[in-house]
Amino acid sequence: MVEYAHPQVLVSTAWVAEHLNDPTVRIIESDEDILLYDVGHIPKAIKVDWQNELQDQVVRDYVNKEAFGKLIGDKGIGNDHTLVFYGDRNNWWACYALWVFKMYGHQDCRIMNGGRQKWIDEGRELTTDRPNHAAVTYTASGPDLSIRAFRQEALDHSNARKPLIDVRSPGEFSGELTHMADYPQEGALRGGHIPGAKNVPWGQAVAADGTFKTADELKALYEGNAGLNAGDDVIAYCRIGERSSHTWFVLTYLLGYPNVRNYDGSWTEWGNMVGVPIEKDV
């Protein structure tokens, strides 16, 4: 039985329940459905909206370091806080938010294993009361680009046949679809994948109850099936970088790969660029 490389990045729902009033901890909910938090959330949890808060509203990019620091400080989150992220859809968006926080240098970031659904399934308390954490000064650092890949790096990776993990569904990977099954088309002109990429749909890293699979299972998935080797320099991508931030989290913290980058431009950039190579299986 292999252990997770960095088991401290995962906390249980029970741990969160015990630390609701811990002044050194801040709990952050980040969901795909941006109204979900307002329907009911973990007591004292802070909402972070990936779309309207973390992303710049003009340029396709994240808000800059200064804006990020102001946003986070105003929510009452300090540099020394232990942050626990959770959210809907197996912590998909929680991992995305965590990735952005890591890019801006937050030290102690963790995920509540099982996410929002597990908390609810266990009948734990929800509230619609907003937390009233006093604003603090937050100093963001970075951005740490060792965890973020841009298109040229993805292209270099592809040309050098270094490992790329495409975490989209098999239909998107093969080029049959340009969007997720059951999801509407979101504007990629070409279907397929970056040449050389291996397909490991992100959701395969999660067990039926929404918690992460065991280290053994994850190793079998990424090293057995997808042929990664421990310590590989990996770039993960999906459609806009959200699903792949989940895989980035798994490879970095649960399997302990030191060089994993998330290509957030992902297929909505690659599938629209003129002249870049594409592989199709259909």
Binding site: L35, L36, V39, N52, D182, Y183, P184, E186, G187
Partner: protein, 148 residues
């Protein structure tokens, strides 16, 4: 283009959204999500007889009936999908009891008129537009009209 005006109730709701700021818009959307009635008991057990709106990211079911020339919708949207539920709630309140021709006159770019394109992702907006499209198609079929 039809000369028929689209339902006044819906026009009123859209107007309110237009005048609100982003935060208020989300609050109003949430209110519509919370306020939408659950399916009547006889439909709850017969959801498979309803039409599924596949374009939405969550399981959304729709049924339309006509009574005395007016269209009545039944919508089922999970409570865990408040954004979709909110938009469905707006259409439910705004279109229920209207005549088919008025429903068909509803503009397709509702979310843009409401300013929702500033707060929701393109992915969601397409699902919402699809829901309106299906509700209009139902109205057309029930009203017995050919393509307008």
């Amino acid at each position: 283009m039809s000369d028929v005006a689209w339902p006044e109730t819906l026009q009123g709701i859209i107007e309110e959204f237009k005048e609100a700021d982003s935060e208020e818009r989300l609050e109003m959307l949430l209110e519509f999500a919370m306020g939408m009635p659950d399916l009547p008991a006889e439909l709850l057990s017969a959801r498979d007889t309803m039409e599924q709106v596949h374009e939405c990211q969550s399981p959304v079911f729709l049924l339309a009936k006509i009574d005395d020339g007016k269209v009545y919708y039944y919508l089922d949207v999970p409570r865990e999908a408040p954004t979709v539920r909110g938009f469905a709630g707006i259409l439910y309140e705004g279109l229920n009891g209207a005549e088919p021709a008025a429903i068909l006159a509803t503009p397709n770019d509702l979310y843009q008129r409401m300013g929702l394109h500033k707060v929701l992702s393109p992915l969601r907006l397409r699902g919402l537009t699809a829901l309106l499209g299906r509700m209009k198609r139902n109205a057309q079929e029930l009203g017995g009209g050919g393509p307008g």
